[in-house]
């Protein structure tokens, strides 16, 4: 038996930032004190920077699904018609949630592994001019694809409808110009690019969305948007905040300010590109097809004859590493590596080297090193010149 450190390579939870772990240990913390109010309002200010928006921001003690519910329960009334772009497990969650709140749900469904095309949404908006909202994922992490929310934002902005974007894995892993693109509600979670455990969710809310909230009649209380958006900048929360997680988030946002928000996004996208090239160099097939691949997570098809669960299990059994299987009907078919948040090339080189060992062990022909070389090439292509320039 050798040393085996346990590692998370999943698209949420993601590896924790060490200084955030230390911050979360604060045991002498009351949330209605000047110190905590300063931390809370600082987090709200830093979220404006991280999200790149001047819209109001609500922060909830909940998982990301809670902030999704906030959008549905605050912005719509029973019988309101919404279009849901659904191409994976999280698109389907929008459908379930909209139905739970008695919305009339028009589903723009695409097969798993594909993106909804802007032209398809445009046609559907023409077909349903009475639509009051469009619900979509920036990144569908169950399949490793993105939707073109920039084009969708432009289309929806020209209507009375509002665009609600689940960017729980999209934030910090893809460029989202919230204000310019007209993304009315954009939703994030703590255990993704924000490098702390699950338990906090947040969303930005445009004035257009607030105007809809004023006439919407679905009931809400815990997830009331207006109350949260107004209280946050004062360092308050309507209900007891998840205070230890908040201190961790404050630390992470400080780190992201130092690193640069765009740099964090480029980091994820570069790791995603390297992962795609490594997988293809090893003869594996990417799951994203007719699709924009996500920067947050890469989904790879298990080779013919293998259950992807075998690969997931081998990572755990051999290397104490947790990678993601497919979800729902994709279970057993794909496996997924995450890139969003606190991941670096060191993580990736080793992960690919381990993949080579695992494929070999599962009876595949593997040229050891070929996958790693592909990742090294991406690294040198992106960072080699910069290093050279510094000499």
């Amino acid at each position: 038996m050798y040393v085996r450190k346990s590692r998370l390579l999943t698209p949420g939870p993601t590896p924790l930032l060490p200084s955030a772990v230390r911050a979360m240990g604060a045991a002498d913390l009351h949330h209605r004190t000047a110190e905590f109010r300063a931390a809370y309002s600082g987090v709200i200010a830093d979220l404006h920077y991280f999200m790149g928006t001047e819209n109001g921001i609500a922060l909830f003690a909940s998982s990301g699904s809670g902030a999704m519910e906030a959008a549905v329960s605050n912005l719509f009334s029973p019988g309101d018609k919404v279009i849901v772009c659904a191409a994976g497990k999280f698109g389907e969650r929008w459908v379930q949630m909209a139905q739970a709140f008695n919305l009339e749900t028009v589903v723009l469904a695409k097969p798993y592994g594909e993106s909804v095309l802007p032209a398809e949404l445009e046609a559907m908006l023409r077909q349903h001019p009475d639509v009051q909202g469009v619900l979509v994922q920036a990144t569908e992490s169950s399949t490793g694809i993105s939707h073109d929310v920039q084009s969708m934002g432009r289309m929806v902005a020209a209507t009375d409808a509002i665009l609600v974007v689940d960017a729980i894995t999209g934030l910090g892993s893809s460029i989202l110009e919230i204000d310019q693109w007209g993304l009315d509600v954009v939703i994030g979670g703590s255990q993704k690019s924000l490098m702390i455990p699950p338990g906090l969710a947040y969303c930005s809310v445009s004035e257009k969305a607030f105007r809809r909230a004023e006439i919407a009649t679905n009931p809400n209380f815990y997830f009331n948007l207006r109350k949260h958006v107004e209280a946050g900048p004062k360092g308050d929360s309507p209900w007891t905040p998840a205070s230890s997680l908040l201190l961790g988030m404050a630390e992470v946002l400080r780190y992201i300010r130092e690193l640069g928000r765009d740099q964090l996004i480029r980091n994820a996208q570069l790791l995603a590109r390297a992962t795609r090239e490594s997988a293809q160099a090893l003869g594996l097939e990417l799951f994203a097809r007719n699709a924009i691949p996500a920067g947050a997570v890469t989904a790879i098809l298990a080779p013919d004859g293998l259950d992807s669960g075998q690969i997931v299990r081998a990572y755990k059994d051999r290397f104490e590493a947790v990678i993601a299987n497919g979800q729902g009907s994709m279970k057993g078919q794909i496996f997924r590596f995450a890139h969003l948040g606190y991941f670096d090339f060191h993580d990736l080189f080793a992960t690919i080297a381990e993949l080579e060992i695992i494929l070999h062990e599962l009876g595949r022909n593997v040229d050891f090193g070929v996958g790693v070389q592909a990742a090294q090439a991406v690294y040198l292509d992106a960072l080699g010149a910069a290093n050279g320039g510094q000499r």
Copy 2:
């Protein structure tokens, strides 16, 4: 300048259990693994022990208000009539929440500092035989009183209505025989007797309550009771759980099993009794009148001519200790010491000695030691014999 350790003496958040703080630092944790499922289902099993109920238990990533909303949104339909027992800030929260979900709300209001009498509820139930629910606090921590939920349970059990008990500060600080007394829904939070930071809430749900959930039409998704109650014993949660807090809770519940659930309750009640006797020995007046004093928290009236905020500030400025002011209209009038969770006599002796110094400094005549002596007498009365017996 001397060493001053910062301390929480508030009824939530409460002091953290050190082993729970260590457990919450786990950075290599994924919630869809066998290890985490075992921890999760273990927490559900231990919550059955802690709450003393065989009813199903739902565990949410939210603050306590989220679990309160779960009761309102799962069990009732718009237009349903509920009686709300309101004698403080949290009673008023029930009213706001019931109204947000369009219930017809009959308020049984009592002045702050008093308990609702069972006979008053009985009269109101006779007056409104069409009532579908009664909402109450076990402990109204804003004023330091308890309601007699045992008698209320018996009354409501004889009707078709269900009794929903906010026991966020009542659990672990007062005896609640959930199953025997017919308490249909009983709600708790993590940052109270459970000695970890805020961010988890839980509630037990009787079969009678579930029968009502089946016909209720208020919308809910994130806080769906049935989904949570069914998933928990399997170690699953419908949405991403607040996993670091859950590991902390597992540790606390292990501690409570060792200590004994009834012993934890006796501990709070003994500290509450000692606090009351100390305050009275110092010539202070208790706020609870015509009321059952709470084991969770003791509210004391500021002496004539003093704003209770002066006492709260002095604790912070002199001793880095956070005690609670009054809330809402009680602000400036009362100050509150907590007893629920990880508090011991050592904490109390020092807190009272500090109160003597603070009252002296604020110009009151104080016989130094008189308050502490009263607490010592309670300690010796309760524990002296036991220690003697062990010699």
